[in-house]
């Protein structure tokens, strides 16, 4: 079994209003506080491997959560490249090219900004990343733990040593808002065209996917999505 913990980087100096794929900005103090909150949330949770996008905001977030453990870098986890739309707000994009913006809204899988990546192109690298991760962490022939027969879908708890012995691996992936939503579509077999419509990825949220032995990259179970309870005070709405 492979449990994939997925998160998005914390707040950057760009705020959260413009499209910023490739601009390599650091976290703000608020972003660091968000990453620390996630680190505290994950204290005591065994994590076998941490992999981050090479971009500064993701690396800083991953290093905060890692608290000294090694952080692997995978180039395929980069944010979608918005090309000439980088650093623009939606209003500015509409001024420049309302027709392309409309097409992109209608189908962000096949449409790309001038010089940028389409959703399908990002999905291809997300797929490649998941395929390699499954091959490395859950090689065929390892001891299979079947899905729990509990009709609630929850699994019986096992001790950490037992978990390690039975090849239950946990990997934390730290990436980006658009990339993560596309990865969720890939992992759950949802059309890439729907990535903007179906999912949310708040900063330093906790999302959990689970793969059993022999599952394909598109065969994940969604165990938890966009949990930001470590960032919310009492009485605050538990969603973004």
């Amino acid at each position: 079994m492979l449990t994939l913990l997925l998160t998005r980087h914390g707040m950057t100096t760009a705020g959260d209003v413009m499209l910023g794929g490739q601009l390599d900005l650091p976290l703000t103090s608020e972003g660091r506080a968000q990453a620390l909150a996630l680190a505290r949330r994950l204290v005591g949770v065994r994590i076998d491997r941490i992999v981050a996008s090479p971009m500064l905001r993701a690396l800083e977030t991953a290093q905060t959560v890692a608290t000294g453990r090694p952080v692997g870098i995978d180039d395929r986890l980069r944010e979608l490249d918005y090309g000439q739309w980088e650093s623009l707000t939606y209003a500015e994009i509409d001024d420049r090219d309302p027709e392309l913006r409309a097409r992109w809204e209608n189908d962000p899988a096949t449409t790309h900004s001038p010089g940028g990546e389409s959703g399908d192109e990002v999905a291809a690298r997300a797929y490649g990343f998941l395929r390699d991760l499954l091959a490395e962490e859950m090689p065929t022939g390892a001891v299979a733990r079947r899905r729990s027969p509990d009709p609630g879908g929850s699994r019986g708890s096992v001790s950490e040593s037992q978990a390690a012995a039975e090849g239950q691996k946990r990997v934390l992936v730290v990436a980006h808002g658009t990339f993560n939503r596309i990865l969720l579509c890939v992992a759950l077999g949802i059309p890439i065209r729907d990535y903007r419509r179906r999912f949310l990825q708040d900063q330093t949220n906790l999302t959990v996917l689970r793969y059993e032995i022999d599952d394909a990259p598109n065969g994940a179970q969604l165990v938890l999505l966009n949990d930001v309870s470590h960032l919310r005070g009492p009485g605050e709405a538990p969603w973004g």
Binding site: G153, G219, Q221, N226, W239
Partner: protein, 191 residues
């Protein structure tokens, strides 16, 4: 079956979690465990009962463990695991049949709550199979995949959003299976 003491504690934890969160309506399955949970969260507010939110009917397999069901009819059990959308248990409902009543419920809910552009919040209290089937319907995922794709822990918080003009299959999934309000939740949802 009524809630156990643990079940009541879980419902109270969800109630505390939702303190201060405005809810315009609370709608529950008619089954006792759901109504008790809904009332704990409602803390005095009205709980509406909706027949279409009943749990999937497992017919003659009601009350059996999965091992007992397998012993009784390994072939049917296997075909149900392979495709729980079209297969039904003896005297029970298929996933597609449950999806049909879920869709009908969502059609009516959206027709009533979406027009006008207000931000409405509705809490639904139901069951593990029907909730996972509802997620498939709401997100346009094949009903056949409901057991494979989703998890619904007890008194978890799952949030779907519809904008005006959305169809029942046009939801956005904001949060799924958040159980951080449960005291033993540190790893419960992914262990």
């Amino acid at each position: 079956m009524p809630l156990s003491p643990d079940g009541r504690t879980q419902a109270e934890a969800l109630a505390r979690r939702l303190t201060g969160v405005g809810l315009d309506r609370i709608i529950s399955s008619p089954m006792l465990r759901a109504v008790e949970t809904a009332k704990a969260v409602a803390t005095g507010r009205t709980v509406e009962v909706e027949e279409r939110l009943r749990e999937q009917d497992c017919g003659q397999w009601e009350g059996l463990t999965f091992d007992e069901a397998t012993a009784r009819d390994p072939e049917l059990r296997a075909s149900w695991v392979r495709d729980p959308a079209t297969n039904h248990l003896p005297g029970g409902e298929s996933g597609d049949e449950v999806a049909e009543r879920v869709r009908s419920f969502l059609v009516d809910l959206l027709a009533k709550e979406l027009p006008g552009g207000d931000r409405r919040r509705v809490l639904l209290v139901a069951h593990t199979a029907i909730n996972r089937i509802l997620l498939c319907v709401a997100l346009g995922i094949p009903v056949r995949d409901y057991r494979r794709r989703f998890v619904q822990g007890r008194t978890n918080l799952t949030v779907l959003r519809y904008e005006e003009g959305d169809n029942p299959d046009g939801a956005q999934l904001l949060v799924a299976n958040d159980v951080s309000h449960l005291s033993d939740s540190t790893e419960a949802s992914w262990s």
